[in-house]
Symmetry: C2
Subunit: 217 residues, 2 copies
């Protein structure tokens, strides 16, 4: 009946006994990250977070002080996750051609990123958000991609005269677009946009796009 295995019995007020203790702070953080990843920052609702974490509203204040505090903590947690994912995905082997590097990068994307898709969705929400923290997080992301493109560059594969900054942004559009308009993609395909074979087709297509464009063979 109930979709989750959450207990419906109300917990009494007061510190729980040692043997039935849980990490409610972590539960709250995870709930917040999931809700933000799916619904964005605007629609984040503390009562919903508490419900999803199966704790009372008051604990949000206890552990995070305020809504802003919870968002901050979520941002930091996600930034750590993203950094560790990209450390793997954007690894560059200077001996290979840019085409090969891109090919490898996209393969790693499929393997490494999509089990952790929620962090990518969250990154998308950061990208379309306007506050200071979102700006800082996005800058970190931008610089990571920039670094990747520049290291490709060292292999002398990127044509001169191409606008580097826009190349980086286009890469970002292709990465974040799918997580941002996930719902519409699923509607049009008639299937969940993040099923493995669909991701595979998309990332393969992206790789070709990067190496040879939409039109050329």
């Amino acid at each position: 009946m109930s979709q989750d295995s959450k207990s419906n019995d109300i917990r009494p007020a007061g510190r729980p006994k040692a043997n039935e203790r849980a990490n409610r702070e972590a539960d709250l953080l995870e709930a917040a990250i999931n809700l933000i990843a799916d619904g964005g920052f605007e629609s984040l609702n503390l009562r919903q977070v508490a419900l999803r974490a199966d704790v009372s509203l008051g604990l949000v204040r206890h552990y995070f002080g305020s809504k802003a505090g919870l968002k901050s903590a979520s941002n930091k947690a996600v930034q750590r996750e993203i950094a560790s994912i990209f450390a793997v995905v954007f690894e560059v082997n200077a001996l290979e051609s840019a085409d090969q590097q891109v090919e490898k990068m996209t393969q790693r994307l499929i393997v490494e990123v999509y089990p952790k898709i929620k962090y990518f969705k969250y990154l998308g929400q950061l990208a379309i958000s306007n506050d200071k923290e979102a700006k800082d997080s996005f800058e970190v992301y931008f610089n990571t991609v920039k670094n990747f493109v520049e290291r490709l560059d060292v292999t002398q594969q990127l044509p001169d005269g191409r606008d580097r900054t826009w190349a980086i942004f286009q890469f970002i559009f292709l990465q974040l677009g799918p997580v941002l308009i996930e719902q519409q993609i699923s509607n049009i395909l008639g299937r969940d946009a993040f099923e493995t074979d669909i991701i595979r087709a998309r990332v393969t297509s992206m790789s070709r796009m990067l190496t040879s464009g939409l039109l050329s063979a």
Copy 2:
């Protein structure tokens, strides 16, 4: 002092005299479209809309019935605008090569679309929104792009074996990405992302991306 030329003197209740009549319905609609384009649907606030249109809150109900009614009317107005823009931008001349068509299309984008950038921002908000109307609007947009790609196809320029659906989506990512993460782009460039020369650089870069990829020369 006041950024707009809006009168600060309060209007009295009651129907205005014929000589001082205005189209308040249109004012409300325009205010709503602007606010949605900049802030999305989630943060749409009827009192803000009324303030921006320089009318009282009650008029929203009078003309549009409810918040949903106002959104609906905005959606319809924007869909009409977008359709008329795309009728021009996606015109195809079957005698030219796909490369040439894309080149022309991007030139038209610069000229036709960016004076009407707000409708594009609104389209972006529709794309990341989840309700039924947004879904329908996005489908219309998707089919317009699809139609363009298919007509390019008739000129026999698109390589076989390339996944058509993802090609369409990638085109969409490149079009909507910039309006969705406008703020971050402006932050990183240190300038407004929609100044003419910046748009020109971006669209040029997009055109090259479409015709020959990010890496090849």
